[in-house]
């Protein structure tokens, strides 16, 4: 019970709510904010108790120590600020991820002067990394950021904060960066739809596919394989989950097209396409992609897959 209260209070002190109340200070075009930590509030309470005790006992040693501790409290604000200022941040673009996954950016912090301890870098308030800029006054790390939707994830600022040395105050600032990461749509499993001229009837496609491909063996089940592909006999025989693998009879390739995917939701359709591309890539099937007027000729290989996925993530943006 008490621990949950404590953690709730602690959460409040690390959350953004408190941060909004505190005044912002602009020093040379950089905005800094500070607020006390939970320990700072406890320390302040202790100082108040000590001051009341000193007044009540009219004790000069008490006054002396209370004022020393309060002054150290005050000065620590400055030292904490010193620990945060003049830090430049650089970083590299993150590797592409699917929407819903977490991307990672390589971040490099460089202090202009003086060693820094306990500098917390974060892209959002859930993923933070504490760094010590002691070695060569620099440190590198990877910062995580969840990619919510497809497109380009643009990061323009990094949150930097520190409570060093006493941990009673936190200073925060934002460092400008220009980082980006490509976010592919979330793959959603479904049957493979290949474009064949003008026809768009589902049954027709299905028949065509059965005709056009020969059953050529079994492969281990992969997420995204349709129930129709699963080889139920081997599952019943206790041999595990396997999918039927159809070798394309024709030497021609498939063309995935946005307009062939049933459904009205664009994002859903892109997600289906994404899974198709992944499946095709995994099976080594050459494929092309048609997105409205944009056409990527059928091909194979990692660069082709990447450019197709990129086209998906940037479609309409």
């Amino acid at each position: 019970m008490s621990t949950s209260v404590v953690s709730a209070i602690q959460q409040y002190f690390t959350s953004d709510r408190l941060h909004k109340f505190m005044p912002a200070i602009r020093i040379k075009t950089v905005t800094y904010r500070f607020h006390p930590t939970l320990y700072g509030v406890i320390f302040f309470g202790m100082l108040t108790a000590l001051l009341i005790g000193s007044i009540n006992h009219n004790n000069n040693l008490g006054y002396l120590l209370t004022f020393l501790l309060s002054s150290m409290f005050l000065v620590s604000i400055m030292l904490t600020y010193r620990n945060l200022r003049n830090i430049t941040v650089s970083g590299g673009n993150g590797r592409p991820v699917f929407a819903g996954q977490t991307t990672r950016f390589n971040i490099h912090l460089q202090a202009r002067e003086g060693k820094r301890y306990g500098v917390v870098a974060a892209l959002d308030h859930h993923h933070r990394q504490q760094l010590n800029l002691t070695h060569n006054l620099a440190a590198s790390t990877q910062l995580a950021l969840p990619a919510k939707s497809r497109g380009i994830l643009q990061v323009n600022r990094i949150f930097l904060s520190t409570s060093f040395p006493l941990g009673l105050f936190t200073w925060r600032t934002e460092a400008p960066v220009s980082l980006s990461c490509l976010v592919y749509p979330t793959p959603i499993a479904g049957p493979l739809h290949t474009e064949t001229g003008t026809g768009s009837d589902e049954d027709q496609h299905q028949q065509e596919r059965s005709k056009g491909k020969d059953f050529s063996g079994l492969l281990a089940y992969k997420p995204g394989d349709t129930p129709r592909q699963i080889h139920w006999k081997s599952l019943a025989g206790g041999k595990g989950l396997h999918s039927k693998f159809f070798e394309e009879q024709t030497s021609g390739s498939s063309l995935f097209s946005l307009q062939d995917i049933p459904g009205k939701d664009l994002e859903f359709k892109l997600s289906r396409l994404c899974q198709m591309i992944l499946t095709a890539d995994a099976r080594g099937i050459p494929f092309g992609l048609r997105l409205g007027s944009q056409l990527l000729e059928p091909s194979q290989g990692a660069p082709h897959t990447s450019s197709c996925l990129k086209a998906l993530s940037l479609y309409g943006q």
Binding site: I42, I55, N60, G62, Y63, F67, L79, G114, S140
Partner: protein, 661 residues
């Protein structure tokens, strides 16, 4: 809990707890001290030997027991009990260091223990020790939160912090308004109980006189009186119940009239806290300047509240003056219990039958003391059980050895039994002048008791039976006046039969330093503030003066803050050399016509150089690559840095191909 990293985290906390508690161990009860040490030992055992950590239930039960124990062994809710409780609870908290948060809170609580040292000892040494523990505790606070910073750099950081904080502290200390009387009652401090209590029975003064503690210090503003006139009157006792003398309930009227004496003297007294209400003044105090204090009708000095912290007051005394009696008090000064001490009563009755006046009886009593061969000693021995009801008979007719209170109480008893009004006075006799500082130190060893007798003109007159038996006591301290072997002090056990000269010198010097420390720092009060600020022409009794002081303080604090900001700049050698050389390189490139945009990384910059100044590429490429290595690989050595330096400084983009590597 037993891993090595954990130990390196919790050990500093244990260290700081021990360092902060150490000076308190003599203040709290022996049991509390022992339990504390046992808990520390067990904690060490759990760290090194893997002894089990007590669970939550055990800790709760233990905490409750410790609470009760702390209250019971320190006579209730005294300051000592609070300190013992705090000490024990932090020792118990050491078993709960599961998370960083527990450790940080334990360390913050240690500041409480440190500051509670203010109640016990504010001498120079104690203050410096306390300052050291503040620094150490702060270092531990830094170290446990940022373990990358070892304890010794953390200590120097906390020293830096304290150094920066020092000017703020001084300004706040000087201008913070002082309130003489606190908000509410202060918890009792057992340690301050040394000194006269409000009763005197046989043996109480003798035990007090064995303490070497300072009772008070005096600075005379007029010529000091002769040594044998230094009768420091404190408590006046009226009631005797056969065993103990007590103050009794007397009229609370103002000071009575007095016969003028020979000479007026003024002096300033700094009384060490003794948790009693009375103050001390030379016989006979006639005027008192002190807050919340007044002269009672028996010319004793009273304060409204017990003196629980060092107290400063000024007294004017009239040497040789004698106060007049008031009629209701005369009956009180004659009352005796109906039974007890039959032989003394018989003796007194004989005197009163023969003598014609009160002073004749007093004369007879003095003669009695002179002829009885009574020994003056600090250790008169215990009264046997059979004589418990007649302590004065036992002293006068059997043991014949005693300290001043034996003489004084029995004289007062004899006189009252002979129908002469008499009262007992407790205080100090003498004192030693400190040649270093022109002030007098009165120690507990100067404690004394004497009698005041109502003479035939109804005027109270001092009679000191001790100086009749041992006349040298008037000019020497009790310790020096008593010459028996039982008084082997620790010094004589060490081989010094007399107190050596150098020891007295050192003691005087030390007391002088402490006295100055007390005067300037520890007794800084509202009157000190008044005189300090009047030196710069500000009267703080006016509203305008207060506004001026607040303004000056704000300006000073602001200036200190600004200075602190200026000195925030780190040392030169801590500057990042790599980026320094890199920026020289970039400037040189800029002059050569290839400017680097702030967003351009080194690789992009190199590509730009290749495009725009193909001729410089061979020179620039190793510099850029070394920069990338130094900056981003995390591998860094001084050779690389030196190499980088020479390459960047030797880089001449203006001339082509003159530096070849």
């Amino acid at each position: 809990m037993n891993s090595h990293s954990d130990r390196s985290q919790t050990l500093p906390i244990l260290y700081t707890v021990i360092l902060c508690t150490l000076p308190h161990l003599i203040n709290i009860s022996v049991i509390a001290t022992l339990i504390c040490i046992c808990m520390w030992g067990y904690h060490l055992g759990s760290l090194y030997k893997g002894w089990p950590i007590p669970g939550l239930k055990v800790r709760t039960v233990l905490g409750t027991i410790l609470f009760i124990m702390a209250v019971l062994t320190h006579e209730g809710l005294t300051v000592e009990a609070f300190v013992a409780l705090l000490t024990l609870m932090i020792a118990l908290k050491l078993f709960e260091l599961k998370k960083l948060q527990d450790g940080v809170i334990a360390v913050i609580l240690c500041y409480f223990i440190i500051v509670s040292g203010m109640f016990f000892n504010d001498s120079i040494i104690a203050t410096f020790y306390i300052l050291f523990t503040v620094l150490f505790n702060t270092a531990v606070l830094i170290h446990i939160q940022y373990p990358e910073l070892q304890l010794s750099p953390a200590f120097s950081l906390s020293f830096q912090l304290a150094l920066r904080a020092f000017p703020f502290m001084i300004i706040l200390f000087l201008v913070f308004p002082r309130i003489q009387t606190g908000f509410w009652g202060r918890p009792e401090l057992l340690q301050n109980k040394t000194g006269f209590s409000d009763t005197i029975s046989l043996g109480t003064v003798a035990s007090l006189a064995q303490s070497d503690k300072v009772a008070f210090r005096v600075t005379f503003t007029s010529d000091p009186p002769p040594q044998d006139q230094l009768y420091w009157r404190g408590i006046v006792l009226w009631n005797f119940d056969g065993q103990t003398w007590k103050r009794g309930n007397r009229s609370r009227g103002a000071a009575s009239q007095f016969q003028k004496g020979t000479r007026k003297i003024r002096y300033n007294v700094t009384l060490e806290p003794h948790n009693q209400q009375w103050l001390f003044g030379i016989d006979l105090p006639t005027q008192l300047q002190a807050s919340w204090s007044w002269l009672r009708d028996d010319h004793s000095l009273y304060r409204r509240r017990p003196v629980s912290s060092r107290f400063n007051y000024t007294v004017e005394s009239y040497l040789g003056a004698r106060s007049q009696a008031r009629s209701p008090n005369i009956d009180l000064a004659l009352s005796l219990p109906s039974t007890g001490n039959p032989r003394a009563r018989d003796l007194a009755r004989q005197w009163s039958q023969v003598a014609g006046s009160r002073m004749e009886i007093v004369e007879k009593a003095i003669q009695f003391f002179k002829t009885q061969n009574i020994v003056y000693t600090l250790k008169p021995g215990a009264i046997p059980v059979s004589m418990q009801g007649d302590p004065i008979d036992y002293f006068l007719f059997s043991s014949r050895s005693g300290f001043c209170e034996h003489f004084a109480t029995s004289l007062a008893f004899l006189l009252r039994a002979a129908d002469v009004p008499a009262r007992l006075v407790g205080g100090y006799l003498g004192g030693a002048k400190n040649p270093m500082g022109d002030y007098w130190i009165i120690r507990q060893s100067d404690a004394h008791a004497w009698v005041e007798v109502l003479n035939d003109e109804n005027i109270w007159q001092r009679v000191d039976p001790t100086t009749i038996v041992a006349p040298e006591r008037a000019n020497l301290s009790a310790e020096q006046a008593i010459q028996d072997d039982t008084q082997a002090s620790w010094l004589s056990r060490l081989g010094f039969h007399e107190v050596p000269q150098w020891f007295t010198g050192v003691r005087n010097m030390w007391d002088f330093a402490n006295n100055k420390w007390n005067m300037w720092v520890m007794e800084y009060s509202i009157s000190s503030q008044r005189s300090l600020f009047s030196k710069i022409g500000i009267n703080i009794s006016l509203n305008k003066g207060i506004v001026q002081i607040v303004f000056i303080a704000a300006v000073l604090l602001g200036a200190t803050f600004f200075l602190n900001l200026v000195f925030l700049r780190p040392k030169k050698q801590e500057q990042d050399k790599v980026s320094q050389y890199w920026s020289t390189f970039c400037t040189k490139m800029q002059r050569a016509g290839v400017g680097r945009l702030p967003s351009q990384g080194p690789i992009l910059f190199l590509e730009k150089i290749k495009k725009q100044r193909q001729d410089l590429y061979d020179q620039a490429a190793p510099i850029v690559h070394l920069y990338i290595k130094l900056r981003f690989s995390g591998q860094y050595n001084d050779d690389d840095l030196a190499h980088f330096r020479s390459m960047t400084t030797n880089f001449r983009p203006g001339t082509q191909h003159d530096t070849t590597r």
